[in-house]
């Protein structure tokens, strides 16, 4: 009786071992990706990559999750709760400076989407003269408010000539009801949402006013890069393939997004995607390929964050980004 029990155990253990070995050989790598925010058509290229099987081709079984803001995403990646994250470059840099082992493997959105958004009828052309007497909504929970401070300083705007009010997450209703005449936010979110309500929306991009900042990027943990650089390479490749394919086939990307999120506001989704795709462009990208970033621009981002007092100390930017995983 005793012997037979032992044999059962041995056979059982062997079987478990075999199954595990088989799994290791054939099963895809399970990889999690946490986005910056809830699903929107700015993520359409990721949904397209899933639908087209770009991740499967790289033997990756993707678990996609919506986010609750970039600051949460970088903490989750830094803590290794998620393998990859999609978050704004400023939060990656600040997180790295705060000791999180973060590396951006592709800077997807190369341009700063922050803008001063208003109804075209507000007639704001020159910030120095046209803001007089107006009420401006500022989102204190996001760094866009600090960018606005920087612009007021660099352009020498008279802050006493207009009123600023906190307007987190409510720019569009406040603009449509004329509670505010202008608001600081992402033009591909609030600006296009305003347009979607049938209002003739207009905006002045902060990028055009000189606040050049890398935006949403793909990031991972330095430990994962050390442990499995091949996986990081394959994942980044599949992810970026979704973006390059979407640039050529916008309709397919939009369809993939709508198919995965049938309850989405389709008009807004359709307005947003082309604007987001435009932001993937830069001189550097044209020369070196989609997602590429330079040490000089990361340094510039850091310099601005320190000036805006969002970042307290410098960090070594060369450790925070890598172009090695791009094709």
């Amino acid at each position: 009786m005793k012997i037979s029990t032992k044999w059962v155990q041995v056979i059982g253990a062997t079987a478990v071992g075999l199954v595990a070995a088989a799994n290791a050989a054939f099963a895809a790598d399970k990889v999690s990706l946490r986005l910056d925010w809830v699903y929107g058509s700015e993520h359409a290229p990721i949904f397209l990559a899933i639908e087209k099987g770009f991740f499967k081709e790289e033997n990756i079984d993707l678990n996609l999750m919506p986010g609750e803001g970039s600051s949460v995403t970088v903490k989750l990646v830094g803590n290794r709760d998620t393998d990859f994250g999609y978050a704004t470059a400023d939060q990656v840099l600040i997180g790295a400076q705060r000791g999180l082992p973060l590396v951006a493997t592709a800077v997807v959105l190369q341009q700063n989407p922050t803008a001063l958004i208003f109804k075209a009828s507000a007639g704001i052309k020159d910030l120095k003269t046209d803001l007089k007497g107006k009420t401006i909504g500022v989102q204190l929970k996001s760094n866009t408010s600090r960018q606005w401070e920087a612009i007021k300083k660099s352009m020498g705007l008279d802050a006493k000539s207009f009123t600023e009010v906190p307007a987190d997450g409510a720019l569009v209703p406040l603009l449509t009801t004329d509670r505010i005449q202008a608001g600081v936010g992402f033009y591909f979110n609030d600006g296009l949402k305003l347009k979607g309500t049938g209002v003739d929306a207009a905006w002045i991009s902060f990028e055009d006013l000189g606040v050049k900042m890398y935006s949403t990027s793909l990031l991972t943990n330095a430990e994962l890069i050390e442990k499995n650089p091949d996986l990081v390479k394959r994942f980044t490749r599949a992810f970026m393939k979704g973006w390059s394919y979407s640039l050529k086939h916008q309709d397919e990307a939009l369809q993939a997004f709508v198919k995965a999120n049938p309850s989405t506001d389709k008009i807004y989704a359709e307005l947003k995607l082309p604007e987001v795709l435009k932001l993937t462009d830069s001189a550097d990208v044209r020369a070196n390929g989609l997602g590429h970033s330079t040490s000089a621009d990361w340094e510039n981002l850091q310099k601005q964050l320190i000036e805006m007092e969002i970042m307290k100390e410098k960090t070594d930017v060369s450790k925070v980004f890598s172009n090695d995983f791009l094709n």
């Binding site: 830094g78 705060r98 500022v138 204190l140 929970k141 906190p166 307007a167 997450g169 009801t177 307290k312």
Partner: protein, 257 residues
């Protein structure tokens, strides 16, 4: 002796909690941006005490105004409910429904409805602090011993005398039980208001510290808020001791919420 031992034990629970926290953070090498150790939070709180104090004031004002508004209107409505069967029957289902409604979920809309600055904070605080006052006080006023009132009648007491001499003192323990719940709700309300609609206050500090991933400052602001909450709670306990005779400070009178 027992009282003293219990107090020592209560303090010990806190000490053990914070010591375990401190120890775990160090043993597991948890980064301060993920979870700062209590010692680090204390350090940051001290380094930023000016900023924290400056932002405690607007939060205190919002809580106080919201609370007083809730207590004032809540008390009056409770009296109306207690003395008029028709008002009670008509409004009670509505009040209970409104109490259950998750009012915090409306917070982002308050910005649009009530504008900017102090107003939305006070409204949210008042709105969620209001219902326990009404329901508890009404319960207190209606649970008065009927024989006592009959006795007052036999003495030829006026309705006003019955109210001030019998019903009101009778309802006091219920009223104060409600106040203790309401003040904690008013704190939650004011802070939620600051999350969505403020450029100052402790709720705003919590939010703003998120931009720079300053988890230590966020915790320091939470500590400030807790201290503020405890002080306001103790102030109510102080008034309770002052206004209610010792034997009536019955901890057995539980709020209905």
């Amino acid at each position: 002796m027992y009282r003293l031992t219990v107090t020592a034990g209560q303090i010990l629970v806190f000490v053990v909690f914070f010591a375990a926290w401190e120890l775990l953070v160090h043993l597991l090498h948890i980064k301060p941006v993920i979870l700062p150790a209590p010692s680090r939070i204390a350090e940051v709180a001290w380094a930023n005490h000016e900023l924290l104090l400056r932002n405690t004031w607007p939060t205190f004002v919002a809580i106080s105004l919201g609370f007083l508004w809730a207590v004032g209107t809540g008390f009056l409505i409770a009296v109306a409910i207690a003395y008029s069967k028709i008002i009670r029957d008509l409004t009670y289902p509505f009040l209970v429904t409104a109490q259950i409604l998750p009012k915090i979920a409306f917070a982002p809309l308050f910005l649009i409805w009530f504008g900017f600055g102090l107003m939305p904070k006070v409204v949210i605080a008042a709105l969620i602090a209001f219902f326990p006052v009404v329901i508890n006080t009404a319960k207190g006023l209606t649970s008065v011993d009927g024989e006592l009132l009959q006795y007052m009648d036999s003495l030829g007491a006026s309705a006003w005398e019955k109210f001030t001499k019998i019903s009101l003192p009778w309802a006091m323990p219920y009223f104060f039980a409600a106040l203790k719940i309401s003040i904690t709700l008013a704190i939650v309300g004011a802070v939620v208001g600051e999350f969505v609609a403020a450029g100052e206050g402790l709720g705003y500090v919590i939010n703003a510290s998120n931009i720079s991933l300053d988890t230590e400052l966020m915790f320091a602001a939470i500590v400030c808020m807790s201290v503020l909450g405890i002080l306001m709670f103790l102030a109510i306990v102080f008034f309770e001791r002052l206004l209610i005779p010792g034997e009536q400070q019955d901890e057995g009178v539980q709020a209905t919420m």
